[in-house]
């Protein structure tokens, strides 16, 4: 796939579907004409750098695509948080997340109904509302941060490291002295994503112990986490924190890519051990003290939840084994062919 196709692919992602093909044909024709004109002037084919310069001049593909959209909706609470460029992606992500969450909530309530529990409208409503607010807040926050970056650095995109497109390259103000990224380095976008996601996970982990409602919804009235979760809580927090430490180091030292490889391997192996320990436990939720006199029906619900958790843990363990095997294979290939390894200037 040549540079022009990659650029057009990136533009296509933001175009209105009904006119996508037509717009791409026209844009492609325009760019090819410009390249041909330039080649005629120079009397030779354009080098890759010259093609890149022509495409760079056309600007960020996301911004270019946005100009063809009729939909100029945005999210604003006073100042604009999410502009028309990101709005369609924001809606897509939000819809996907909410759809998935509501399917899960629906499955939980269905299980409760099947097991003979009385489900009140208030319980369903409060559970749906809570999830709606959490998802809305989290997705809006992430997109408004991306929008801020886009406003500040509209030309911050490149062709590097993408098979079939282009991507934003996170830049920071020069006064905080961050090293500039080059090939084979850890992307700052990855590092920032890991830090944000892990911070959210740590907050959730600490809150879910005090407020089981966050994980069980209305079922928290009669369900609680089994003691095995208390045993693995410390290791899970430690592993998540280890990921944050690695991401922070790579944010300021992107050339220490080997560090990420090693930490990622350790985290994968440790996660597998935690999953194995959890699988051995056999029971992951138990009846809460408040279950009281209706314990027969509640026991059935707890049994169903335990079965679901078992299959989820099993699938997670299988995926984890495959990922670990792939990472080890990649590392061993890298050892045999050192040129494919990331830079080795990790402090030891």
């Amino acid at each position: 796939m040549d540079l022009l196709d990659r650029y057009l692919n990136a533009v296509a992602k933001g175009l209105p579907e009904a006119q996508r093909e037509d717009i791409l044909r026209e844009l492609s024709e325009d760019i090819r004409s410009e390249m041909e004109d330039k080649e005629a002037d120079l009397r030779r084919p354009l080098a890759e750098a010259e093609q890149q310069a022509i495409l760079k001049r056309r600007g960020n593909p996301a911004l270019l695509a946005a100009r063809f959209r009729q939909d100029h909706r945005s999210v604003a609470f006073g100042p604009q948080l999410i502009g028309p460029v990101l709005f369609p992606f924001y809606i897509k992500v939000l819809s996907f997340n909410l759809g998935l969450t509501f399917i899960i909530i629906g499955a939980i309530f269905l299980t409760l109904v099947v097991s003979g529990q009385n489900i009140t409208f208030n319980a369903v409503f409060s559970s749906v509302l809570l999830q709606l607010l959490i998802q809305l807040g989290a997705v809006t926050l992430i997109f408004s941060l991306i929008q801020r970056h886009l406003n500040k650095y509209p030309d911050s995109w490149n062709f590097r490291g993408m098979g079939d497109g282009v991507h934003l390259d996170l830049k920071f103000p020069s006064d905080i002295k961050l090293a500039k990224p080059t090939d084979g380095q850890v992307s700052r976008f990855d590092s920032v994503s890991i830090i944000v996601a892990s911070a959210v996970a740590l907050v959730w982990l600490s809150e879910v112990r005090r407020h089981p409602f966050l994980i069980f919804g209305p079922a928290a009235y009669f369900l609680q986490l089994a003691p095995v979760w208390t045993q693995v809580y410390g290791p899970i927090v430690f592993l998540t924190s280890l990921g944050v430490v690695q991401a922070v180091i790579n944010l300021f030292r992107p050339r220490w890519a080997r560090l990420r490889t090693l930490v990622s391997l350790v985290l994968q192996a440790a996660s597998l051990a935690v999953l194995g320990y959890l699988l051995k436990a056999g029971s992951w939720v138990t009846l809460a003290d408040s279950a009281g006199s209706h314990s027969a029906g509640y026991s059935r619900a707890a049994e169903l939840v335990n079965q679901c958790v078992f299959y989820c843990l099993l699938v997670a363990a299988v995926i984890s084994v495959v990922q670990l095997a792939l990472k080890i294979a990649r590392l061993m290939r890298g050892q045999r062919n050192p040129s494919s390894l990331p830079p080795v200037d990790v402090p030891c």
């Binding site: 006119q19 717009i23 044909r25 026209e26 844009l27 024709e29 325009d30 090819r32 004409s33 410009e34 056309r58 600007g59 911004l63 270019l64 100009r67 063809f68």
Partner: protein, 118 residues
């Protein structure tokens, strides 16, 4: 208590000027595109022609504008092969010709008034 607001002359004035310049250009671009399309063009040659005449316009502005003018019935377009490549050719529609005539008269009238003011 009061706050003193400092204005950075370079940056703020530059941004303000850019916004006003873009606003001023926006209307003129429509006029320039309509006038240039009295003769048939495809996107790239239209952009080049306008650029050569001192009205530089980037493709992110031109193509959405062409689509809008076409949807308003002021332009006609057709895909046609030229030099072994398919290109989309635009030209002014009969409605577009009428509108252009009226817009040009309006523009000349504004120009005369501005000359008197300035």
């Amino acid at each position: 208590m009061y706050t003193v607001h400092y204005m950075t002359p370079g940056t703020d004035n530059h941004d303000l000027f850019e916004n006003l310049r873009l606003e001023l250009r926006r209307g003129s671009l429509i006029l320039a595109v309509l006038a240039a399309l009295r003769k048939e063009h495809y996107g790239y040659t239209l952009r080049k022609t306008l650029g050569d005449l001192g009205v530089a316009i980037d493709e992110g502005t031109l193509y959405p504008l062409l689509r809008r003018l076409e949807s308003q019935g002021l332009l006609l377009s057709e895909w046609r092969e030229e030099d072994k490549r398919n290109k989309r050719f635009y030209r002014l529609s009969p409605d577009g010709k009428g509108i252009l005539k009226r817009l040009l008269a309006e523009w000349q009238s504004i120009n005369r008034s501005l000359d008197g003011i300035v």
